[in-house]
């Protein structure tokens, strides 16, 4: 699984680079616009190790940011699942904040929180939480009558139970979204670093962009891709294990 993810990423990456090189040689572009392989390897030799550690730095924020996002998404999703005024208000709030592109909110965040670790974390979480929220809202707003009826009828229904029932019945969807949101958290962290921080791979990309150095950007994308593949592979493996072990699902279905 993990291994597959990595070599599939390598295929995707090579396809991308091959495409760029095809454009380069077809239209005779210089190394300044699209680097050749020599330059690419040379840049990789010089920068890869550094970028690798930059990505690990980014990843540390990503992991935390993803957790914060999951927490926020469930929090808002659970409150916002009702069609009451408050539910709808929370939803409007969550949606509106999302509609503001983070690039526009960033200055306000910096004014309020400075440009340290917290801002990075906040921005990463804000980018990552919304897609999660949409799924959680969709799931939390759909009753599962054949299970819930008993608890409602006997006055046992609490919001925790309702959430648990709906989450459990949609475990597949939730794990897909949560595992998938890893890349969102990563992208979010990089965006945050890009506009604010002075650490992480997003910051390195910003510098490379300043100098229009596509070779460095491609090397950075490579390190990002490898590490995100590994991270996601691990998440997926863990997700599978949680699903099969902990929740002991309908083992051996005959249909």
């Amino acid at each position: 699984m993990l291994f597959r993810r990595i070599y599939q990423f390598l295929i995707v990456y090579c396809l991308g680079v091959t495409g760029l090189l095809a454009i380069k040689y077809a239209t005779g572009l210089s190394n300044y616009v699209i680097p050749d392989l020599t330059l690419l390897f040379d840049t990789a030799r010089r920068m890869l190790t550094g970028y690798f550690f930059d990505v690990l730095n980014t990843l540390s924020v990503t992991v935390l940011g993803q957790m914060v996002s999951i927490f926020m998404a469930f929090f808002v999703g659970i409150i916002g699942r009702k069609s009451s005024w408050l539910g709808s208000f929370i939803k409007v709030m969550a949606y509106n904040i999302q509609a503001y592109p983070i690039v526009a909110l960033a200055p306000i965040i910096f004014i309020l929180m400075g440009d340290g670790f917290l801002s990075r974390l906040l921005i990463a979480s804000m980018i990552c939480y919304f897609p999660l929220l949409l799924s959680v809202l969709g799931i939390m707003a759909s009753p599962i009558k054949d299970i819930e009826h008993f608890y409602i009828a006997t006055g046992r229904m609490r919001w925790q139970l309702e959430v648990k029932i709906r989450a459990f019945e949609n475990l597949n969807k939730l794990t897909t979204v949560i595992a998938g949101s890893a890349t969102l958290a990563m992208a979010g962290t990089i965006v945050a670093e890009f506009i604010a921080a002075d650490q992480g791979v997003g910051y390195s990309i910003r510098i490379a962009l300043y100098q229009s150095d596509l070779a460095r950007i491609l090397v950075a994308l490579f390190s990002i891709g490898i590490i995100i593949s590994v991270y996601q592979g691990i998440l997926e493996t863990v997700g599978e294990q949680i699903k099969t072990k902990w929740f002991a699902p309908k083992g051996g279905e005959l249909l």
Binding site: Y203, Y210, S212
Partner: protein, 302 residues
């Protein structure tokens, strides 16, 4: 004939006054040229556009030109718009004045990592014999909140655009500012210049000549104080957000950068400064080997 695309380095504002006038003031049209003057910005790169055929002329800073040459781009310099680099540092007047480089000691200085202000500041610090322990350097982004909040003392700005805006904004709150200009300490790092591709120059020398003549006379017109009301009115059309008084002050600040004294011909290329720029970039390891930038300076030289 075909439309010529002219890609600026930055957004439409007063510091590109001549480029705006060349277009809206009919200078290109008079020269029989159909030119589309396009805004630049952080995501734009004129030299790449020259190569991809999206642009025929462009504005690029000297470090961009040198980097592009190192990677084999076919770019030539037609004119050097700024005789004085507008890249300067602003600081509040209630801070000790920076009279010599040693006064930088202990200051909290902003630089854009990867930007040319980093290269310039590193050169200045090297000149002063400082190590990284003698000053505090902070990474700077596009917005100057840390300076406004007094978290960073010495902040990099383009003297004629953000420099003016900041000056005004602080004045409104009763604070005065000063500027620190690297050129005063012997660092003449070249800024924005007009470029085109070598192929363009070879294949259409007449067009290039006509273009440059029109553009430079537009700049002459733009920096002539006598034309101020007209010029400001033209800029306003392209740069609506800025207030009138700011625009006026920006124009005033732009003139000495473009035309430091009456005798200076606009666009004249300061070869010595280019050579220094290349040297600095080698020293600062921005490029690995010399690129012989002087051979690519094809416009009128000092």
């Amino acid at each position: 004939g075909d439309t010529l695309n002219y890609r600026l380095k930055w957004l439409f504002n007063t510091s590109v006054a001549g480029d705006i006038i060349a277009d809206t003031g009919g200078f290109f049209k008079k020269a029989g040229l159909d030119v589309s003057v396009n805004e630049g910005g952080a995501g734009k790169n004129a030299i790449k556009e020259l190569e991809l055929g999206y642009a025929n002329f462009g504005v690029a800073s000297a470090d961009q030109v040198i980097r592009a040459l190192e990677k084999g781009a076919d770019v030539v310099v037609l004119a050097q718009l700024f005789q004085v680099n507008p890249m300067q540092w602003i600081y509040r007047s209630d801070q000790p004045e920076i009279r010599e480089l040693s006064d930088l000691k202990g200051r909290h200085i902003g630089v854009t990592f990867g930007g040319n202000d980093e290269t310039i500041m590193n050169t200045l610090l090297a000149k002063a014999g400082f190590t990284s322990k003698d000053v505090r350097i902070s990474s700077v982004r596009f917005d100057f909140t840390p300076f406004l909040k007094k978290e960073v003392d010495v902040w990099p700005v383009y003297r004629n655009s953000q420099g003016v805006i900041l000056e005004e904004r602080l004045a409104a709150e009763g604070e005065q500012v000063k500027f620190f200009n690297p050129a005063d300490y012997g660092v003449a790092f070249v800024a924005n210049s007009v470029v085109t591709s070598g192929t363009m120059l070879k294949k259409h020398p007449e067009t290039v000549k006509a273009f440059m003549t029109a553009l430079l006379s537009a700049w002459e017109f733009a920096v002539d104080p006598a034309n101020e009301p007209q010029v400001l009115a033209q800029i306003k059309k392209k740069d609506k957000g800025t207030k009138n008084n700011i625009r006026q002050k920006q124009l005033k600040a732009t003139r000495p950068l473009i035309k430091p004294d009456k005798g200076t011909k606009i666009g004249i290329i300061d070869v010595g400064a280019w050579q220094q720029t290349e040297r600095i970039m080698i020293q600062e390891k921005q490029i690995v080997a010399p690129v012989d930038v002087t051979s690519r300076l094809v416009g009128p030289k000092k």
